[in-house]
Symmetry: C2
DNA sequence: AGTTAGCACTCGGCACACGAGAGTGCTAAC
DNA sequence: GTTAGCACTCTCGTGTGCCGAGTGCTAACT
């Protein structure tokens, strides 16, 4: 729906006023706080139209107007001006992120913390998905008399490790042989193929070595499994209880929702690129009915990869928060670009 | 203070009634639900005494009595019978714990989850402190063109790793030499000595190799640092919002408190062995004013090590929860005993 | 046709009162 | 030391009345 200029101004003023105070905005206060020079009655007429068309609602007859979800959506799509973080904030963010850029996990943890600190809401970042990653190299190290460590390096540069117990005494000779055999058998194998049946056929080919390999194979399978899962970094969950307009019920819902990593990952990956804001029912999840989710996909080498996201209440400074999410997603992408190294 | 038998019975009935219902208990209901065969008036007299002595309080004149913190403390110390988990629950716990007993971290994460699931409250476990641990062995692996991985095995069997970037191309020859040199220089060194000045003197002794070692040394220093810190595993934080009698203020306090790992670790390690229950102000922390903390130290090879703990509301089934904390701490200790392997 | 002034109207929030019910403390008798 | 009886206190839910903010409508104006 196309709105007239004045109605746009009024809608914008109401959305921003409501965001700032949490109170429905009346025709009189609206005129005081904007430069619009018409009478309150005119504003009321426009407000009545906007209410009829679903952009505003009245909590009760003698209250002002607050924006509906539709109204906020229109504001975001047509009226809002994205606010990038200030120069000082950008400098701070870049400096912090660079200092954590040793591994992707660390960088993403740091990014989540920064975003949460900056906005005061709950931030979530994801590692890049490992689509099509293959096994690049395997290391086997002895770490104890009966324990060893399997390290898996993928073609995407990801490194994951896992300890496993052995029912034989671990010696340098054995780990060396194991490592050689495993690399020979598994180098180049896609992570997605590291299934139980496949491992059994691999194990069958080991002949007399079979005695020493089972635990290592199980560990490698676990690592491959785990490496394919998207890792989530969450920061500022405790802030959920400090968010404006968040009642216990909403807080419970949001916390419960975030307990399921799969659920969160699925939601964050349900848009393909750029910045997206979902408000209330747009999240398509009953537990997020009163929440906002702002998320951005970051890119590595020009390809859409992981996600940077912010969970907040329905009433938030969308312009500022979306600006921050977008900025941090870009920064994370750039740093991960530099990190690619195989 | 020594109480008469009937008063003990009455206090116990009030504490347990209050725990079960959350409502102050009246003289009449008390008689209905216990086998005490005296008149309500007698009970009222005793209740008046118990109130005067600080064990009970009245929210208002026409309400029954609820236990004060002093009353609950007396109940825990003198009246309560610890309830161990049922045979079935024990079997379940043991089976779950065994299946996670590959690394101490995993086991403790699993223990926290079990404790939280069993009680419905928020559980925290800690890894054993690494007092006096020394470097047992160091592995250096190439993981990318410019990245490598340092793995540190301590004399206590702990294994920790960290990736680091190198400003030279990482080859098998270099990692092998590095590993040899680092092991020679650092094996047997206590983690607590891995400080910056010490590392500088070590670096100085490397001669021409100096070019290749700085990043590895920094990584090892970081690992040593990190390995000396107590790791906390927290489970069921989202349950804080579902606990009975927990208002938003208390929930905020508890969540904020748990944000600081040092703070939590300090509190958990402030008793030396066995089972401890702290209620309300006994926690000596304003944010835990309305909370209960039940914690137990587990032992490895007969020596007090880490801690298993439960954060809950003031009103909880102390007998059951303390029983569970105690049981799981024992189970964790036993499994860690078996895991020691150097 | 759009804008404005005026005015009656609606409704939430607050204060207050009132009765019912639960549970007590006190007194006098056992 | 224990008990029965009774008056008392306090919370909670309900109902009433008033205030004020903000509206919608109508009629007049540009």
């Amino acid at each position: 729906m196309e709105l007239g200029e004045r109605k746009k101004k009024i809608l914008r003023a109401i959305v921003e006023g409501y965001i700032a105070t949490g109170e429905p905005v009346g025709s009189k206060t609206l005129l005081q706080e904007t430069g619009i020079s018409v009478s309150p009655a005119t504003v009321r007429n426009d407000m009545a139209d906007l209410t009829r068309d679903g952009f505003l609602y009245q909590p009760h007859t003698s209250a002002g107007r607050a924006p509906t979800q539709t109204g906020i959506r229109y504001y975001i799509d047509n009226l809002m001006e994205l606010k990038a973080p200030s120069q000082r904030a950008c400098d701070y963010i870049n400096q912090k992120l660079s200092s954590c850029a040793d591994t992707p996990e660390n960088l993403l943890r740091c990014a989540a913390e920064l975003l949460s600190d900056y906005t005061g809401f709950c931030a979530v970042t994801t590692t890049p998905p490992s689509d099509g990653a293959r096994i690049h190299r395997i290391h086997i190290l002895g770490t104890g008399r009966h324990t060893a460590m399997a390290v898996l390096v993928t073609t995407t540069g990801m490194v994951r490790s896992k300890l496993f117990r052995c029912n034989f005494v671990v010696t340098a000779e054995i780990t060396e042989v194991l490592q050689k055999v495993l690399n020979k058998a598994l180098s180049g194998v896609p992570l997605s193929e590291m299934s139980k049946p496949f491992m059994q056929t691999v194990a069958a080919s080991f002949g007399e070595l079979l005695l020493f390999t089972p635990q290592a194979l199980v560990a490698l399978m676990d690592i491959a499994q785990q490496a394919q899962e998207i890792q989530l970094c969450t920061a500022g969950q405790q802030r959920i209880l400090f968010m404006p307009d968040v009642d216990v019920h909403t807080a419970r819902g949001l916390l419960s929702f975030q307990q399921s990593s799969e659920q969160v990952a699925k939601l964050l990956f349900s848009h393909k690129n750029g910045l997206r804001t979902l408000i209330g029912t747009e999240c398509r999840h009953p537990e997020l009915l009163r929440c906002t989710l702002i998320s951005a996909r970051y890119e590595i080498q020009g390809v859409t990869a992981g996600s940077v996201a912010l969970f907040g209440p329905m009433r938030m400074d969308y312009a500022q928060c979306a600006g921050a999410v977008g900025y941090i997603a870009k920064a994370v992408g750039n740093l991960l670009d530099e990190m690619v190294d195989i």
